[in-house]
C-alpha cells in the first residue's frame, strides 16, 4: 500500500512532465527533446540552491523559491531551443539536441558533481509533512508515524506528500487550463493548429513557439525540481528517456479520454502519467528487470505511433512532429 502511495505521488509529479510534453508535441506539433536536459536542470538548480541554503540561507534558497527558480531555468532552456529554431532556422529536433547537450555540462556545473543528496535539508514536502505531524503526532517512543487505514498502516509522511502533490498538480492544471482559454493561450493553440491562419490574423508565430517552448520546459523543469526533492537526490542522468516517458503518458491519457476538450486533455495527461507509473510498478513487482524499462517504454510508444488501428483509436490524431514525411 505504501508502495502504491509513492507510485501515485511520482505519477502526479511527472504529470507536470506530461503537461510539458503535451504542449510541445501536441499543441505546437514541435518534437522538443530539450526535455531531457531541462528536467535535470530543474532538479539541479533546486537541489543546488537548497543545499547552498543549508550554509547560507537566503530567500532564494527556501525550498519554494528554489523549486520555482528551477522551473524558471527550464523555461530559459526552452526559450533557447525556440530561438535556435526560429531565429537561426535550425531544424527543430537539432535545436533541442543542441540545448540538451549543452545542458548536460551546465547541469554538472550547477551541481558541482554528478549527484546531490537532499537527505538532511528541508524540501517543499517539509511543510506539509510538518502539518501532518501536527494533525497526527508521531508515537512518543520515536517509532515511524503511521496511520492505520482499512487494515494497512500508512506512512503519514507519504500521505502528506501525496496530498500536497495532488493539490499542487490540481493548481497547475487549472492554471494551464485558464491560460489556454485567454487570448494569448488561444493564439498559441492556433499556432500549432494552423500557423498560416494565425499569422494572417496578426500573431507572430515564431514568438508564440518560443514562449510556448519556454512554458513547456518550465513545467518540465518544475517536475524535475519537485521529483528531486521527493526522492531526495538529484542526478545528472535523471533526464535520460524522459521525452519518451512523457509521450507515453500523453498517449495513454489521450486513449483514456478520447477528446480534444481542453479540460479533458489536461486531466488525461495526469491520468496517463498515473496509469503509466502504476503499470511500471506492477511490471517491476512481477520481476521485470528495471534496466529493460526504457526498451519497453520505447517499444510501447513505437507501437502507438505506427499501429494505425491503435492510433485511430486514439481519436484520429497524428502524433505531432514525429511522423515526418
Amino acid at each position: 500500500m505504501n508502495v502504491l502511495i509513492s507510485t501515485l505521488t511520482i505519477g502526479l509529479i511527472l504529470s507536470l512532465l506530461a503537461f510539458g510534453v503535451y504542449i510541445s508535441f501536441r499543441i505546437f506539433n514541435f518534437p522538443d527533446i530539450t526535455t531531457e536536459g531541462s528536467i535535470t536542470l530543474g532538479a539541479a538548480v533546486a537541489a543546488a540552491l537548497i543545499l547552498h541554503g543549508s550554509e547560507n540561507p537566503s530567500w532564494f534558497t527556501t525550498p519554494w523559491a528554489a523549486t520555482l527558480l528551477g522551473g524558471l531555468a527550464g523555461g530559459v532552456a526552452g526559450v533557447a531551443t525556440g530561438v535556435l529554431h526560429t531565429r537561426f532556422k535550425i531544424h527543430g529536433l537539432l535545436s533541442g539536441i543542441l540545448v540538451m547537450t549543452a545542458l548536460y555540462s551546465i547541469n554538472l556545473r550547477v551541481m558541482g558533481q554528478s549527484n546531490l543528496s537532499l537527505n538532511d535539508v528541508p524540501t517543499i514536502f517539509s511543510g506539509p509533512q510538518f502539518l501532518a505531524e501536527q494533525l497526527h503526532p508521531a508515537p512518543a517512543d520515536g517509532g515511524v508515524n503511521q496511520l492505520p487505514f482499512a487494515g494497512w498502516n500508512l506512512f503519514v509522511n507519504d500521505l502528506a506528500a501525496l496530498a500536497f502533490t495532488l493539490l499542487l498538480i490540481a493548481a497547475v492544471g487549472a492554471a494551464l487550463y485558464f491560460f489556454f482559454r485567454t487570448n494569448l493561450g488561444t493564439a498559441m493553440r492556433a499556432t500549432g493548429d494552423n500557423a498560416q491562419m494565425i499569422r494572417a490574423l496578426g500573431s507572430n508565430t515564431n514568438a508564440m513557439l518560443v514562449w510556448g517552448l519556454g512554458l513547456s520546459n518550465a513545467l518540465i523543469a518544475l517536475a524535475g525540481a519537485i521529483f528531486a526533492q521527493y526522492q531526495k537526490f538529484a542526478d545528472v542522468q535523471m533526464g535520460f528517456g524522459m521525452v519518451v516517458l512523457g509521450l507515453a503518458s500523453v498517449i495513454i491519457g489521450e486513449a483514456l479520454v478520447r477528446s480534444r476538450d481542453l479540460v479533458l486533455t489536461i486531466i488525461g495527461s495526469v491520468m496517463g502519467s498515473l496509469l503509466f507509473r502504476l503499470l511500471v510498478a506492477i511490471a517491476l513487482q512481477w520481476g521485470l528487470n528495471p534496466n529493460d524499462l526504457k526498451l519497453i517504454t520505447a517499444g510501447f510508444v513505437f507501437i502507438a505511433l505506427v499501429l494505425p488501428g491503435f492510433v485511430s483509436k486514439l481519436g484520429k490524431r497524428k502524433v505531432g512532429g514525429l511522423q515526418h514525411a
Binding site: 482559454r181 487570448n183 490574423l201
Partner: protein, 270 residues
C-alpha cells in the same frame, strides 16, 4: 490606398528552376476599389497577393498601404491592415478549434493578445449573431470544431473572420475555386455583401469569367509576371464574358508566335 511600384520577384534565382514570377508590376488602388485579377496559370496572381500579404519579401520594388511603406514588414505585422481568404478552405481556419474560438482569434486581428479571456458570454452572443447572418445554420454549432464543417462553410467563416476587424485591404485568392458551384455562388454573394457593406478595398483573384465580369469596378489581366490589361469603370461595366475570352485568345496567339521565336533565340545562343 494600395500602391505597388515596380514589384519583382524571382523564385530559385540562378538555378534551372528559375521563375520570374513578377517582372515589374505597378498597381495603384483607390480606397473602395474592388479589383479583379485574372490571368493564365502561373502568371503571378498568387505571387502578387502573397507579396502584398508578406508571405515573402519582394526582390525589388515598393508596397505602400494606407500611408505605410510595408515593403519590409513581416507578415504578422501587415495583418493589422490586411484581411485574407485563401484558395484552400483548410488554410483560413484552425480545424481543431471551435467556431467561437476561431472567431475570437479573428476579433483580435492586429491587436495585442494578452491574458484576457478569449471568450465570454457577451462575445459568444455577438459571434452567434454574426454566424446566424451567414444563413448556414451554424449559429447552434459555434462550439463545434471547425474541422467538422464543409469547405463552403469554412470559406464563409474565413470571409467573416477576414472582415471582422475592418481591414484596409481584403485579399481573396480564388477563394471559391475549391467549392461546388452552388456553394461558390453562396460565398460570392457573401463576398459582395461584405465588400459593399464596409466599402472594402479588395483585390480578388479568380478563374471564373462569370465572377470576373460581374464583380468589381476594375479588372487586370496578368501574364508572365506582368499586368497586360487594365480595364476600368465604364469599360469594366460593359465587359462581357466573350470579351474576356477574346483577350485570353489574344494572349494565346501572341504566345504561339513567341514560342518558336524563343526557341530560335535559344538555339542561336546555345
Amino acid at each position: 490606398m494600395l500602391r505597388i511600384t515596380n514589384a519583382t520577384k524571382t523564385f530559385h534565382p540562378g538555378t534551372p528552376n528559375e521563375v520570374l514570377a513578377l517582372q515589374g508590376v505597378d498597381l495603384h488602388l483607390e480606397p473602395g476599389d474592388f479589383l479583379i485579377v485574372i490571368g493564365t496559370n502561373g502568371s503571378g496572381k498568387s505571387t502578387l497577393q502573397n507579396s502584398v500579404a508578406g508571405t515573402f519579401m519582394l526582390d525589388s520594388g515598393r508596397i505602400r498601404l494606407n500611408g505605410h511603406d510595408i515593403t519590409r514588414w513581416p507578415e504578422h505585422k501587415r495583418a493589422r491592415l490586411i484581411g485574407r481568404v485563401f484558395q484552400n478552405p483548410f488554410s483560413g481556419t484552425a480545424p481543431n478549434m471551435t467556431i467561437a474560438e476561431n472567431l475570437a482569434l479573428a476579433a483580435r486581428r492586429g491587436k495585442p493578445r494578452g491574458l484576457g479571456w478569449a471568450l465570454n458570454r457577451e462575445t459568444r452572443d455577438r459571434f452567434r449573431e454574426q454566424v446566424r447572418a451567414l444563413n448556414m445554420g451554424l449559429e447552434d454549432r459555434i462550439d463545434n470544431e471547425i474541422g467538422t464543417l464543409s469547405g463552403g462553410q469554412r470559406q464563409a467563416l474565413t470571409l467573416l473572420m477576414a472582415s471582422f476587424v475592418k481591414p484596409n485591404l481584403l485579399l481573396l485568392d480564388e477563394h471559391t475555386a475549391a467549392l461546388d458551384p452552388k456553394t461558390a455562388d453562396q460565398v460570392i454573394h457573401l463576398t459582395k455583401q461584405v465588400v459593399e457593406r464596409d466599402r472594402l478595398t479588395t483585390l480578388m483573384v479568380t478563374h471564373s469569367m462569370q465572377q470576373a465580369v460581374h464583380l468589381g469596378n476594375r479588372l487586370i489581366m496578368m501574364h508572365k509576371g506582368r499586368v497586360i490589361h487594365d480595364i476600368r469603370d465604364d469599360e469594366k461595366k460593359r465587359m462581357r464574358v466573350e470579351g474576356l475570352l477574346d483577350r485570353f485568345e489574344e494572349v494565346r496567339r501572341v504566345e504561339a508566335l513567341d514560342l518558336p521565336a524563343a526557341e530560335l533565340l535559344k538555339a542561336a545562343y546555345i
